[in-house]
Symmetry: C2
């Protein structure tokens, strides 16, 4: 569980040695702590031609209390920020120098309709990237390419992926870079622009980089759109009032595999955000489960999810009060090359990692136990995206999880339920501690953070997707991998 | 351009040394040669519940003249193969041993409708993988997940990606593994099942592994579907008669950047398959272009595609006879971190790699110069998928190319024109020869083939997509990367 190189290289002597030998020096990532301000410092704003998201961004910046500075590409920001009563100034490249005085870079590319208009992105990041401090944040905003009216616009918007991912690989120093596509009409708090930008600008997303997230109109919105008014669209007041300190207050959350490791971290983070956690694990892990849930005032359920009767038992246990959030975290590995793998090893991995998720959701959905506007988050894996040697069973199951969220998202939309997957990369757990040293070191370092993630990084990502204010995010896969080199 | 390690380690002394030191031993890949049989040896057939593609597969196996052996999962294959007059037998795991007697493994998973029915895939690859010889081929066939009727079926079909990609990483020894999703009704030769399976089973696809290709009904087919009969669907005779030795006979192909490197290889392969090649390059490369095209009896066009007047000039030069195939290969790199990159380096890379493609296609499409049933293939890059350090400009342009093919595919469908991208990984060229040694070695080895690809590998992939018989493949990105570890 320990990355001793990370500790060593950040000690005074280790840092000097690493510098003289030219060794990589992974940054100690800044993570969320309740006793420190979540948002702090200067955020530089850039924009392409006709930025469409400035209103939403001004509200957000006001809400998180950061001070904005406008790059020359974002001339319209200053008067708008003034109208919103924001502290704001102008970004001057010369004075900023390389002093790392910026905490975040935010670029609104939503109005770019042609590849010949991408130059402001160059200008903004050319001028500002060196001024971005350690563990800084880069967020690029665009429109979902597939919803663009013209082929030229689609092309230009799709091009943002290549830029954002390159910035993540270039920036280093614990800096993350992510791309958020906001559909026209999905600028309200409920759809998820606030929850998402807060997440990507916060230390909560310490190990999430190189990701692309789409926010579309939530079902509630598109429902009202048909009627007269369409009050949610294009500004106006939002129907959703969020307590950002406790966004999950009053929500009941089922977490499978909650006794230890990533599952325990998920239970802990969801509880910290106000949810009542119902932790589920094997009967054999009963004591560990109780120990995890006790300080959270959670409820323990001891079932073997592989058992045929488990879904009905879980449904019965939750029936009275229902549940708002289901996190499918339980999973196993039984690694072997396929030629040496037993049929039982294939079958049990498929059944527990994929089949059990399907059966449990069926039981919870059929009985209406998962309430309207519920949130399902399933744990996939980078192996499910890229495949992995010795993991035909595991990768098949985790690719299936991706299919599950993609297929169910449109079917659950009418009830306002979202379903998404998180795909962890190398996360420091008891499981990864057993990997032989050289392979473990390669896995740890082959990402833009040059280190493994922590269980809490996965948990924070799930907590963002589980919020009531993430209604426009569904059917998606978010990697928690420090922008691992590995992919498909 | 030389991978001297690959040569050394395949010499008698080098092989002995590598073995004793535990060094990787990349396989010398078998590539297509006109003087050797393209298809040869035994192909093992496996299947899940109710395989739907057996008819099409039996025709294909008959056409390529391979001998099939049926795994126990494919009980229906033997009587069907007999009806098609195929040489066939039964695969016996015990007798096959690890002698590498199989040339290809083909699994029809099209009928699998639930994740609990994936076990036959395990059984088949568990039994057969060790018997697959060097440079063997693995192809898994399924249905496009997004077209599946139920969420369970979508999930099971999507799971195939994790399996296929893991098999590619496990198999090594120059073996490729690819997944082909065939839409219901797209089983005809014209849609592309024959061209695609021939490609993936042939030495032509030596460096293409870990890829997922979708074949849908071609526009010609879906056009006739509305009428009475729908004769193309579900068997029957195909309208398309292909001369597989010269599938591009009578087609005129424009290739940009044709003077050298990958472009010259594309020109050469398209000509070998019967196309008349019109090679385009900079006026400064006139002599090299002429030298490349002379033995191909091609036509040379010397234009600077960055010039505003170039699209009209190219259109005028092609106007009389029109063109059937357009390969957008021309591209440049100007690598620097964005903080150090000049505006000119950003702008020229975007303009030549992306803007010029857009302008040329506009000119050729507007004038009807690109004929109905035409084929556009654009060269993207792994950098466009994953981003790359020092390549914000290049990665943005190449991500834009992906957007271009995705956005234009539906718009060109009515005319029967397809548009696809190929994304090369590490290809041995003059460009990669300039990369510093240690970075070059890392790039070369970080893929399932443990080596870089050759320009001809990119060219063969383009030739497959350019065939008249690839009508059901459009809007897709095929990597030519030996299943590089790098991705998104």
């Amino acid at each position: 569980m320990n990355d001793s190189y990370l500790k060593f290289v950040n000690s005074p002597f280790g840092a000097r040695l690493a510098r003289s030998l030219g060794l990589p020096k992974p940054e100690v990532l800044r993570r969320y702590r309740g006793d420190r301000p979540e948002f702090d410092g200067l955020i530089a704003i850039g924009a392409g031609h006709e930025p469409r998201l400035f209103d939403a961004l001004a509200k957000l910046v006001a809400s998180i209390g950061m001070t904005s500075v406008a790059h020359e590409s974002a001339g319209l920001w200053v008067p708008l920020a003034n109208r919103h009563g924001l502290m704001t100034g102008r970004f001057e490249a010369a004075e900023a120098g390389s002093s790392g005085k910026l905490a975040a870079l935010l670029f609104d590319a939503s109005g770019i309709e042609d590849s010949s208009h991408l130059e402001p992105l160059y200008g903004f990041f050319h001028d500002t990237l060196r001024s971005l401090g350690q563990c800084g944040r880069i967020v690029v905003l665009g429109r979902p390419p597939e919803a663009c009216a013209s082929s030229r616009q689609w092309t230009a918007q799709r091009a943002l992926e290549g830029l954002t991912r390159s910035l993540g690989k270039e920036a280093r120093r614990g800096i993350t870079a992510n791309l958020v596509y906001v559909e026209e009409g999905a600028e309200s708090t409920e759809s998820g622009i606030d929850a998402t930008l807060r997440f990507f600008l916060s230390p909560r997303s310490a190990y999430v980089s190189g990701q692309v997230v789409r926010i579309v109109q939530s079902s509630a919105q598109s429902g009202t759109q048909g009627g007269a008014g369409g009050a949610h669209v294009g500004g106006g007041t939002s129907a959703l009032a969020v307590d950002w300190a406790q966004p999950l207050a009053g929500r009941r959350a089922l977490v499978t595999g909650a006794a230890r490791g990533i599952g325990a971290a998920i239970a802990s983070v969801l509880a910290a955000e106000g949810a009542h956690v119902i932790g589920l694990d094997m009967p054999s892990a009963r004591d560990a489960l109780a120990a995890t849930l006790r300080p959270l005032n959670g409820t323990a359920l001891a079932f073997d999810i592989a058992a045929p009767e488990a879904p009905a038992q879980i449904a019965a246990a939750l029936d009275e009060q229902g549940v708002d959030i289901v996190v499918h975290n339980a999973g196993i590995t039984k690694d072997k090359t396929i030629a040496k793998m037993s049929e039982a090893a294939w079958q049990s991995v498929l059944d527990i990692n994929l089949g059990a998720q399907e059966r449990i959701d069926d039981a919870l959905l059929a009985g209406g136990i998962l309430r309207d506007r519920g949130r399902i988050v399933a744990v996939s894996s980078i192996s499910g995206i890229a495949g992995n040697l010795g993991q035909t069973n595991y990768a098949t199951s985790k690719a299936g999880v991706i299919g599950r969220v993609q297929s169910m998202a449109p079917r659950l939309r009418a009830r306002g339920i979202t379903i998404n997957a998180v795909a962890p990369g190398f996360i420091e757990t008891q499981m990864t501690a057993k990997i032989p040293l050289t392979i473990r070191e390669a896995g740890r370092r082959m990402n833009s953070m040059s280190q493994g993630g922590q269980p809490v990084d996965v948990a924070q990502t799930i907590a963002w997707l589980a919020q009531p204010g993430s209604a426009g995010i569904s059917g998606q896969v978010v990697r928690v991998c420090g922008q691992s080199l590995i992919g498909a």
